[in-house]
Amino acid sequence: MTGPIVDLSSEATPREVLTEVCIIGSGCGGATAARLLSEAGHEVVLLEEGRDLIGPERTQRDAAMYDQLYMDRGGRASHDLSVSVLQGRVLGGGGVINACDVVPPPDGVLKHWASKFGLADYAPVSFRPFVEAALQDLSASRIPESLVNLANDKLRQGTQALGLRGEVMMHNRVACRGLGTCLIGCPIHSKRNPRMVALPKAFEAGALVYTRARAVKITKATQELKEVSVRTLDAGGYREEGKFTVRAKIVIIAANAIASAQLLLRSGIGNEHVGEHLTLQPQLSVIAMFDERIAAFDGVPQSYAVTEFEEEDNAEFGLWGYRIEAIMGTPGIVSTLLPFSGAPAMAGMAQYDQMAASLLLVPDAPSGRVEVARNGRLTIRYEQREDHRQRLRSAVETSAKIYFEAGAREVLVPTMPAVRMRSRSDAGKASALSLAPATAPLISAHQQGTVRFAPSERDGGADPDGRVYGTNDVYVLDSSGFPTSASSHTMTPIIASSRMLTTKLLARI
């Protein structure tokens, strides 16, 4: 063993591991819990399916990075391929591959959770200290003007010309050099994410992580000593090779709302709420073509947001409405979003450096489901609701108007068939978008809600402390517990929630 990070694709597989706390998943939820528990003197072992990919290994190349940094090699999707489900699979989890957006849960959402779902600990006055601590963990700050690139500035120009509300966003970068590949890993580690903050602190305090270690089943969940069955993976993370068991008094699952529910379902643990109430927050991109070179792939890809239409205190759902943010990626991933094949696709990509793009972030109702078949296959069942389609159409229209105000030559809605808008008067075409299944490249980066926290097991899969109903000290400490969308971006809410729930756990053990 060479240190706190044990890569089981190259190190010998342990026969058995005995520990006080086993944490499954090393992202925002798991790393935060690992840090607090180990700093308090508890013995912690983390399991991470991905590996520790750092520095120049983050090559900024599409094919290799989606293969290594994302679950299912970037191919994870909802049951009918309507929504591409992006989920990190690397030491540090989603914080390694996100766009660094720091958006705390709005008070309206927290009040909604407290009043409608009985989660008193999330009431703003109680939860705010944990949000503040999360912001400190993230070294959160407003993105400096010097890092607002031309693509983001175009979105801002149009927003301001229309008199709409918007803002330069908060982020968790330090000493950022605007390398532009946040979505496939920062090679200079500017992100103050779990890999750079919580995990090193946890390691200093004695925590250990096994990478290329896939937790496949939890047994004896009602007994004092739980068992986690683990499969080791090969170096690429493709094949299961060895296996071993971790025995732990406390098991914390923080593997993301899809994988956490998947593990519980595979293990036959929990009640009928496990796997239910999934929100995917499906997002759609809109692409604007300009006459001049934009080079949106250079610099911080996401620094400006249109917040005018965001509703933070919807009576039924909490976060509602929509939000528009600039975005850009490397050529490979951008090309997958273009709604063409053949010559039109090539013509579109030939203008890659003249593109600016935005993401339409539209919160959804908790209506999806995670299923695991008898043979172990995962299905993410999700039907887009009409209310979501309607807000998406409105967001498309707004985005188009903004870009035309900013001087766009053309706005492209990447549905199949594509909708091309040549002037502001075309923006109304958005209302005719069918958005039928598998006609729009919807993306989910913020899965939540599959093991809903609730004071009664009639209403959720885990109690307000995160303990899975029907178990003895098996917890979920990630976005699985959120009853509705916590925020337009989930990094800060997950860290804050994990901090709060781990603090409560520490008071009991």
Binding site: P56, T59, Q60, R61, D62, A63, Y66, M71, D72, R73, G75, R76, A77, H79, D80, L81, S84, G178, L179, G180, T181, I188, R214, V216, R231, G236, Y238, R239, E240, Q262, R293, A295, F297, P331, G332, V334, S335, T336, L338, S341, G342, A343, A345, M346, A347, M349, A350, Q351, Y352, D353, Q354, G376, R377, L378, T379, M416, P417, P437, A438, T439
Partner: protein
């Protein structure tokens, strides 16, 4: 043919949508088109594919289908004068599949059958995808993405996802799209 994996916790991948009887349903779209020809007729219609060495998962016919597909997905043009067929993207796909779970490979195979017999199944033409000339093949493939049939749209999405990601990750393409490559390399090379 043997290097696919069968993992206990295998999950949903890019081609998993063709499971759950969707393939059978899609194949019945054209009524008795496939049944009418029978197995022998289908094989005759498909003809022989050139032998390809060194494949891990794909067979010669599947390789040919993908090569025919790549040719229409990435036509060489003045805008991007790069020959996609020279990149051997089907072989990259074969390498990708070699690391995929067994059920994903099975589903992908169904997708390739659908593509190859697409002209017969969906257009009721007595020919196959690889046998169409380039312009006919291109026109036929264009209908997949906007089809009323969900399964054809899904196949279109899955193919675009994989092949676009790989094609535009090739350095030869970048000069024609205004991209200078990974910023670390550019900056190390003295840009700015």
């Amino acid at each position: 043919m043997s290097s696919v994996r069968k993992d206990e916790a295998a999950s949903e991948g890019l081609f998993a949508f063709l499971s759950r009887r969707r393939f059978l349903k899609a194949s019945l779209v054209a009524g008795g088109a496939l049944l009418g020809l029978g197995g022998g007729g289908l094989l005759a219609l498909r003809g022989r594919a050139p032998s390809v060495d060194g494949l891990h998962v794909l067979d010669d016919h599947e390789y040919r289908t993908l090569r025919s597909l790549v040719e229409v997905m990435f036509p060489t043009s003045e805008l991007i004068p790069v020959d996609a067929t020279a990149m051997d993207l089907p072989r990259a796909f074969d390498g990708f599949l070699a690391k995929e779970p067994e059920h994903n490979v099975t589903d992908l195979r169904k997708a390739l059958v659908l593509i190859e017999f697409g002209p017969l199944v969906f257009d009721r033409r007595l020919t196959t995808f690889s046998r169409l000339d380039v312009s006919e093949r291109s026109a036929h493939w264009d209908t997949w993405g906007v089809s009323d049939e969900l399964v054809r749209r899904q196949v279109s999405i899955a193919m675009r996802k994989f092949f676009n990601l790989v094609f535009f990750d090739h350095e030869e393409v970048w000069p024609y799209i205004g991209y200078g490559g990974p910023s670390m390399l550019r900056r190390a090379g003295g840009e700015r």
